[in-house]
């Protein structure tokens, strides 16, 4: 049984709707709807490994600033973003911190770390 997966390419303002045909082994057998090579590449990657950077804030403790902005230092699977947020809900950032400092190593075993994107002073 083959099936079709639709992906909107974000490579340029065109926003092509690319259709991937997937065979029963999960392999891509046909790609249509893209208008350039980049679209083909993007759609394949988005099907095989749809990843996003998680960016959010965490609560602080001992700072006049209520929140500290954070992000993953590399993209993680988009299906794991909500789980990632639940981990961040338990984190309390304590000053002093520098932008780039690690707050959560290896988030959900994804290999990505949560880092501060701003300094934090008391």
């Amino acid at each position: 049984m083959q099936r079709e997966v639709n992906v909107i390419c974000v490579g340029c303002p065109s926003g092509c709707e690319v259709t991937l045909t997937i065979d029963d082994k999960g392999e891509v057998t046909k790609i249509t709807g893209n208008r350039c090579k980049e679209g083909k590449k993007y759609a394949t990657e988005e099907y095989e490994n749809p990843v996003r950077v998680l960016m959010a804030t965490v609560l602080t403790q001992g700072s006049s600033q209520p929140l500290l902005p954070v992000r993953t230092d590399k993209p993680i699977l988009k299906t794991r973003l909500s789980e990632g947020m639940r981990v961040l809900a338990r984190v309390r950032a304590k000053p002093p911190l520098k932008a780039g400092d690690m707050l959560v190593p290896n988030l959900l075993n994804t290999g990505a770390n949560i880092i501060a994107t701003s300094d934090l002073t008391s």
């Binding site: 909107i8 974000v10 303002p13 609560l59 909500s82």
Partner: protein, 418 residues
């Protein structure tokens, strides 16, 4: 201000910082940035999402990361900063009146000025939604400040009107923070922001998107309880019989940005009604000698990278003006033609390399941008109002201009239109 100021920059967002840095790098003496908030960086502190600097640094940074790169450089170059300092008045002779928490009220007369006040959001009253006047209605940027800086969310059941970038980014942010975004409602037949945000903020989280719809009524008092949304006709009027009521405790508005230019007007700076920002030439000088402008105060950008680049032009020009250097003159008007809403800069000298920034009115496929008889770009797969178009025109191409040319028409052309 004891020592004479060469370049004063009003605003310390991405535009102001880039202008101040460039002014220093190109030889200005004393450069002072005036910022009304407690911190440098303008709105970048609340933009905790990524997508900043992809073009400028070739890296995917968050707003605070992008800000810190510029602040660090400004500090290295000894740019002076006046925080909690609001510029209250500005005259054509460059007299600035400032109210500062630290210094009280004072005035100064810098040699050159860069306007970098950015933009602000349109509100409910700018678009006139009928219904009650309850609490729970915010602009998307205001909600962004609550969620990302102050640490609370405005509500749990949210409707967003307008699919501008900030609205879509807030749809994702609020969803990740545990709120339910019931709908994003867009009056146009297409999304108002970048395609990347449509995919990663709306589709990723399966948020219902209503195109060709608007909020036709607000219900509830003292807190918003629901909105009625309706499909609209070609004239954007709600179609009777298409109403649907959506319960919510919060309505966010992401319905456009307006360049902030109260100070510019006080100084006699002329604004372009098509854009809302000052009419500038290619060195970003306004009609008032020695007053330059950059960033979203000139025209609203979708990418911060372009804000920085354009403001650097203003900063370098302000530094040159302060030194008494001769600046390129000659004013050939750039006139928006077919399917072009506006062009910045509005005038060019016709002698130097120049980058033209423009927005189209309607989406089109396989389009080229034609700059008079000077040059035509390669075919672009698609042009959209949400994505600013940038066209580089070289001095050698401009040699094709006929002697005495006063105006160049910029058209978006397609095979069908030709």
């Amino acid at each position: 201000m004891q020592q004479e100021v060469d370049v004063a920059v009003i605003g310390s967002g991405p535009a102001g910082l880039a202008a101040a840095i460039k002014a220093k790098e190109t030889g200005a003496g004393k450069v002072v940035v005036f910022e009304r908030a407690e911190r440098l960086g303008g709105l970048l502190d609340q933009c905790v999402h990524n997508g900043f600097g992809l073009l400028y640094f070739g890296e995917d940074l968050t707003g605070p990361q992008y800000r810190d790169r510029f602040i660090e450089k400004a500090m290295d170059l000894k740019v002076n900063t006046e925080l909690e300092s609001m510029v209250l008045d500005l005259s054509a002779d460059h007299t600035m009146k400032v109210a500062s928490s630290k210094r009280g009220y004072f005035s100064l007369k810098p040699k050159a000025i860069v306007l970098a006040m950015g933009c602000r959001e349109r509100t409910r009253f700018a678009i006139g939604i009928p219904g009650t006047r309850p609490t729970g209605i915010y602009t998307a940027g205001q909600a962004q400040r609550f969620v990302n800086v102050e640490g609370f969310i405005p509500g749990k059941k949210i409707v967003i009107l307008g699919s501008g970038d900030i609205g879509m980014i807030m749809a994702r942010r609020l969803t990740l923070e545990g709120a339910n975004v019931e709908a994003v409602v867009e009056i146009l037949p297409y999304v108002g922001g970048l395609i990347r945000n449509e995919v990663q903020c709306i589709h990723d989280f399966e948020i219902p998107l209503f195109l060709r719809h608007t909020v036709s009524e607000i219900h509830g008092y003292p807190r918003i309880e629901a909105v009625t949304i309706s499909e609209v006709d070609e004239k954007f009027n709600p179609i009777a019989g298409t109403e649907r009521k959506i319960e919510c405790d919060t309505l966010l508005l992401s319905v456009g940005l307006i360049p902030e230019n109260e100070l510019s007007l006080k100084a006699g700076v002329k604004l372009d009604p098509l854009v809302g920002g000052p009419i500038v030439d290619e060195i970003r000088q306004t009609n008032v000698s020695g007053i330059f402008a950059g960033g979203n105060a000139v025209h609203v950008h979708d990418l911060v990278d372009n804000v920085s680049w354009e403001s650097e032009i203003a900063g370098a020009s302000a530094a040159a003006f302060a030194k008494g250097a001769k600046l390129p003159s000659g004013k050939i008007k750039m006139r928006p033609g077919r399917n072009i809403r506006y062009v910045v800069p509005q005038t060019i000298s016709g002698k130097e390399d120049v980058t033209l920034y423009m927005r189209v009115k309607e989406p089109e496929n396989n389009a080229r941008i034609k700059v008079g008889d000077v040059m035509t770009t390669k075919v672009k797969l698609a042009v959209k109002p949400s994505s600013m178009e940038k066209v580089d025109v070289s001095a050698s191409e401009l040699k094709r201009l006929k002697e005495g040319t006063e105006e160049i028409v910029v058209d978006c052309v397609t095979k069908e239109a030709a």
